[in-house]
Amino acid sequence: MDKDKQFSKLSDHTFKKGVLYTPFNSSLGDQLSLSPWAIEWLPEYLWLALILEQYGREDGLNVVSRIAGELSKIDKGLCIPMLSKIIELEPQKQRIFYEVICKWATRDVLSPLTIIYRTDKYALFYEYFSDFETSIDEKTVTLQNVIEKNLFHQTNEATDIRFLILWFNVFAERIHFARGMEITKALVEYPKLSHDHQEMRLYRSLIRSSEMALRFREGNGDFPKRFWHSLGLLTKCRTFIIDYGEQVGGSVSFLEDAVNTIDYLMANNKESLLTDEKFSVCLGIATYALKIYKEVLESRIGDGILGRNALRTITEVYVTLKYMSLKEQDQPDIWKAFKDYGIGKYKYVILKAREVEPDLEKHHFALPVLEALLNEDKGEEFTNMDTRLFDNQNIRKKFEAIGENDLYDLYYEYDTNFTHGLWGAIRESAMIFCDNPSHKYHTVPDITFEQKLRSVEHDCEYVLKKLFNQLSSFYEFPDFFIDKYGGLDD
């Protein structure tokens, strides 16, 4: 994580009616209307960006300064930087505007825009700036390069454009800055200094905040939307697959050692295996978690979505095991209650199935087997369906009670996104970043299934070790396991 960046901590957020508000949004609330530079404003000023791109910063600022200066001399009302306003000018004024541009810059500079602004609606613009010497591909590439440099509102290039916007308004006398003000000094010094100059850090932020203030006065309707739509359709997506490289995997030897340990526990506690509910539940939970882990390793799904579901379940069964051991003192029959709760859940499904009568040939559950399980310990007529698990405590409280807050926040909470198919998980696993600036960095479905996730194998093993550590507090573990894994909690 970039430690230099200042992010709000979780504790800085305010909880209101089920939402954790950022400090920024919390103080401004509904009054804040975000106006993204890239989406709503960049299309207006791309013509300025193209001039700067063509001539470089120093000469480019000079060229635009001459254009703005001459326009303001002709008619202050003409001195406007927004393309949507320029193309709305009456034809005669538009011609004057374009003549001035062509006087100081070559007409091919703005030709990339003619693949967007065609003769149907922008005939005059097209007339002045069309250039058939340059191919559509070349025009597209130029536009993409310029957009890439200016898409983020705080880049040096974007700040240059924002400076020019202020300049146009100063030339047109739409805004005035008093002598002695920092912004006045900034406007004078900005074009003379390179971006490396230390004063520029202050000037850039002054320029940006002043330009942003102007935006509240302007409205540009659908113009930017139409621009992005037109350009977006002309260019292809460039999917960007994140490669996580070599990762720390799980070990088959741990799995084998854990299986041998269960084997040992069964052999060494034969009597408990036959009669003891707790022993049955503990070994059942451990084996269930191991089977999941084995599936993760064998099916190589550690870097897939199911791997995260696997880790979440392993984490949850570990917490259940530890929570039951914590509650055992107050509720000695908790192990039996756990089994009853689970069988009760099965009963509910079985009763529903009998009502619905699904096609059992195709359905994924085996009703006769389920019925046998329901009636295993006692007849189903005597089995209640308890909708509460233990003391009806929510899962987060259980993590807290056993001192595993971090496990909740970093494992369970994160992986639950994948189990429930929430957008964060969908975005991370099934949608790929498109590296095409003219698509505004949207995402595209990963239908080639190339994007992998960071593997859960190491974390599965980490939680399993915790689970086995808990188990070792109940039953005597074999020496080979203790010698090898010792303090499992670490």
Binding site: R118, S130, F132, D137, L233, K236
Partner: protein, 367 residues
């Protein structure tokens, strides 16, 4: 898998687009800038549809029996080109002629006969409009050339390289590189003398009558449509002119094969010259099963065209005719019959194939 719905919609939109420009194209006052705008509009139109066209083409399988008009600029309704094309494939694509013609207008060369090219453009655009207006259920227009635009440079380099390997194989003492070739030869006569005797007759540029004229005459005759040899000689030597004149055919054939294999499309060839070069290059791709499957069908369709190219279809409406030849049934039937003889189409004599075709068509195309 063929998913036609969006393609049908595109056909209508494209018809609307080019129809708007008919007056502009036919007007002699139309400037080159106005023409360039037209080409730009067409190019932008196809770019906007690129994803869905790419999807359509990528999902085609050889079982879909989809064909494309290869080596021709337009269907040519006036000369019953649609009757000739119809037996080839269940779905028939022709490359957008406007996209193909764009290259002629990109060249600023004064050697190009602009008037002829513009007249030709009007002709192909009108043909395309008529196909899309009257026969949109049977033919699909797509920019097959442009669809490779992402790797256009690589594609051109590949075509150029493979084209030169073919050309050098025509010579008794082949030159390793183009540069070496250009240094070595200074006249078309020298070149002609060094070409292997058995292959000289196969270097057809116009039609079969080429075999009776010299290489220079063949090239002159071929260039005269658009360029003048004298003007060209001011800019390049005879070796370069030869490479350009012959290379275009090999490049065209490689392009056809590339499109066919990439998209599993059956090339429908009706030009003798193009088919001739296809035969010359066939040994190189005869190991590729997909290519062989597709070219087997190309061959039958070509022979059908040779048999019925001059047939008077006037007594048969196109829809009636189509009901007889649709679904690739003539070609499939000939292939099936050749298989029953334990042979591939390429093992049969042309007369045998012709006889099988006649057997299939005699009921609705009486002699």
């Amino acid at each position: 898998m063929i998913e036609l719905k969006p393609i049908v919609k595109i056909q209508k939109e494209y018809l609307d687009l080019i129809s708007k420009y008919v007056d502009c194209l036919t007007d002699e006052e139309t400037t080159n800038s106005e023409l360039a705008y037209f080409f730009e509009e067409v190019s932008l139109f196809w770019r906007r549809k690129h994803e869905i066209i790419d999807f359509f083409l990528k999902k085609i399988s050889t079982d879909d029996k989809c064909s494309f008009l290869a080596g021709a600029m337009y269907i040519d309704l006036k000369n019953d080109g649609h009757y000739e094309f119809a037996p080839c494939g269940q779905y028939r694509i022709f490359t957008d002629p406007v996209s193909k013609m764009r290259t002629f207008f990109l060249t600023e060369s004064s050697a190009i006969n602009q008037k002829r090219v513009r007249d030709y453009l009007v002709k192909v655009v009108n043909d395309c409009i008529n196909v899309l207006s009257e026969f949109s259920n049977y033919f699909i227009v797509l920019p097959l050339d442009d669809i490779f635009s992402e790797d256009q440079e690589d594609r051109m380099a590949f075509l150029k390289k493979s084209s030169y390997s073919f050309i050098s194989s025509l010579f008794v003492n082949p030159c390793a590189t183009e540069e070496e070739f250009i240094d070595k030869y200074h006249s078309l006569k020298e070149i002609e003398q060094d070409i292997r005797a058995d292959l000289l007759d196969k270097l057809i540029l116009n039609d079969k009558s080429d075999v009776s004229i010299s290489l220079q005459e063949r090239i002159e005759k071929n260039l005269n449509d658009t360029l003048s040899l004298d003007v060209l000689r001011q800019r390049m030597g005879d070796a370069e002119i030869f490479l350009m004149a012959i290379g275009q055919f090999f490049m065209q054939i490689m392009d056809i094969i590339l499109i066919a294999i990439s998209y599993k499309l059956i090339p429908f060839v009706r030009s003798d010259v193009v088919f001739n070069y296809l035969l010359i290059t066939y040994p190189m791709i005869s190991e590729d099963k997909v290519a062989v499957t597709l070219l087997e069908q190309t061959t039958i369709a070509y022979i059908f065209h040779k048999m019925y190219g001059n047939y008077d279809f006037s007594s048969l409406t196109f829809s009636d005719y189509h009901s007889h030849v649709s679904e690739n049934r003539i070609i499939d039937s000939v292939i099936e019959k050749s298989r029953s003889k334990g042979k591939s189409v390429f093992d049969l004599q042309i007369s045998e194939i012709a006889s099988l075709i006649k057997e299939e068509c005699s009921s609705f195309l009486p002699a």
